[in-house]
């Protein structure tokens, strides 16, 4: 353990410079806010992740946001364990019928104002997992979506640049 601590003095931090907020995402959130205006006071965003039918690839990349390279908490964003503590739902997967009720209940349990971000091609479009007997399709069929971050899965950098755009849009709206 001592050598590990010693190493810390020799190396500079691995944390990467933040990406620019994605302009397309910025425009998308602004459109969503024009329809249903909701403001955020301050920078902090508490995020609740909901897997509504994912292959778990998106979860792996969302997880990576917490590693020292992306270090999402430096932007005031953190993951919480309960929707009741959340400002934002990060939803993955083409919503399965077996998860539909759970997603609706999670959305209902999230206090207003609340935002929903659909993460990954499945959640945004359905794509490979479009509607069939088991899947209802993309997230916006079940709950209203403010921002889509496509990709299969989106990389942590893409996730960050989408979330930073959301944060910026919510603040410039106050």
């Amino acid at each position: 353990m001592r050598t590990l601590f010693f190493d810390a003095f020799l190396h500079s931090p691995v944390t990467l410079a933040p990406p620019e907020p994605d302009p397309a995402a910025l425009a998308e959130v602004e459109r969503a806010l024009a329809v249903r205006p909701r403001h955020l006071s301050g920078q902090s965003l508490a995020i609740r992740q909901v897997d509504a039918g994912s292959c778990n690839g998106c979860e792996l990349e969302i997880h990576a946001l917490n590693n020292p390279y992306y270090n999402i908490e430096r932007f005031g964003m953190h993951f919480v364990a309960s929707p009741r503590h959340a400002d934002l739902l990060l939803v993955t997967g083409s919503v399965t019928h077996n998860m539909r009720t759970a997603l609706e209940r999670t959305f209902a349990a999230t206090p207003a104002p609340k935002w929903v971000v659909a993460v990954g091609d499945c959640a945004c479009q359905g794509c490979l997992f479009r509607e069939n007997y088991a899947c209802a399709g993309p997230v916006d069929r079940v709950v209203p979506v403010d921002l889509t971050i496509p990709g299969c899965p989106p990389s942590p950098t893409q996730l960050l640049s989408g979330l930073l755009a959301l944060q910026q849009a919510l603040n410039s709206n106050v």
């Binding site: 353990m1 050598t3 590990l4 190493d7 691995v14 992740q49 909901v50 897997d51 509504a52 039918g53 994912s54 292959c55 778990n56 690839g57 998106c58 979860e59 792996l60 990349e61 969302i62 997880h63 990576a64 917490n66 590693n67 020292p68 390279y69 993951f79 364990a81 309960s82 929707p83 997967g93 083409s94 399965t96 019928h97 077996n98 998860m99 539909r100 009720t101 759970a102 999670t106 490979l128 997992f129 069939n132 007997y133 088991a134 899947c135 299969c152 899965p153 990389s155």
Partner: protein, 513 residues
Amino acid sequence: MTETTSLHHTLPALDFLQGLQPVAHHHPWPRFRLDQAAWRDMREALARGTLSLLGLWADREEIHAAVLDHQSALLILSVVVEAGGFPSLSTQVPQAMRLERTIHDLFGHHPQAIPDERPWLDHGRWGVAQPLAEGRRVPVAPVEYPFLPVEGESLHQIPVGPVHAGIIEPGHFRFTASGETVVRLEERLGYLHRGIEQRLEGCDLLQGARLCGRISGDSTVAYALAFARAAEAATQTVPSPRSQALRGIMAEMERLANHFGDIGAICNDAAFAMLQAHFSMLREQILQIAEHCFGHRLLMDRIIPGGVTCGLTPEGSRRLSNWLKTVPNTLSKLVEVYDETPSLRDRMRNTGVLSSELARRFAAGGFVGRASARTFDARRNLPYPPYDRLDFQVPLLDSGDVNARVWIRIEEIRQSIPMLRRLLTMVEEGPLTTPLLAGGGEVREGCAVVESFRGDILLWLRLDSQNRILRCHARDPSWFQWPLLEAVVYGNIVADFPLCNKSFNCSYAGHDL
């Protein structure tokens, strides 16, 4: 000699196979059609432990079992569904239970005398009954799922999920506890059922590879490889040595990434976040290298039937091999911390103990089995390229606790590093893909078993003469690990469940399909 024709050598001496001819066009292992009496004999052999069950699935007419005998010969044994049913295996082989409930949910074939008649994947929300059979429309009516009754004084229940506290997949756990001690855990899964097997019907091979690569995202390489190998077996195609070596590189990179990520997460569940931070950096490094070398962090869609979609540049190869030089040193520092921290030792040892008897009876694959003395690794026991040309050890322990599962993974990392180095030298010149031949009018079937980081994946495929998918079944290793998690939690405190669960790290998506 091609690799696909060489495997008929060791047919096990099973009485019930006497006089039977294998079904035509099934590769690489033979498939036999049994009558119901022989199917029951097979059940006896499974119950005795002479054979172990590696898979159980159906199509519209037949039930198929993949069985392994002790000489590591694999057989596919089928029985025709009669009067809508077949003799249940789970009466004597509890490992088969959830698979049989699934067969009933998807096809409606009734496992006669099955001890548990409750639906499994079907939650009554599809609006369709038996979607893989005729798919009769029925009203949506969520089933009241009766959990197993629990009796005793001062017991209380804790329902958890399907949405869990964390960035994880959904499933429901019903704990019954006496004070802090778990006296029963019952799982209810199926929330992630996406109807993948139905989606696969009618797909061409490239679409099939894309879908199979998304059965469980953390094992996308292993699934794509299993699908490719099954398709290559069915069409009797042998990919180039170059693509085989590249596949091996991708598969071992995936194994490393998952082992790093999970060891860190297990430490985090034992309140030791510092190791998680370090292991997550190792994981991130290999994902960045994967992107640099092959253009995708998780290596999705890089393996296709017939080969791979991209090669490795000398620069990519250099970056990977330079990184490999640094890992053993970093790893040994982290392992030292892991091993010498009393609080970790206290939480990990003797927690969540899986007996070797249960691991054997459930044919538990991967580190779950190998931490409980079940020595099976598809890379060695049912060898496939490039592993048939590699030298490596399969680590084995018998204490079966959380600590043993972590140690197996540490040792596997230590095996994968030299394996990767060796594989980098095996990437010779050659084509990336080899075309798959269409059939001469006949239906062909192929099977593959591939060792994912989690354990063995079994994939079975039936193709028409144009190489379109008629039926594809994928059995995730989690099928035989999830039920064991219920067993190991017994007698542990509720607070240790996350630790036990993480040390198994079963796939929800791969299981629910």
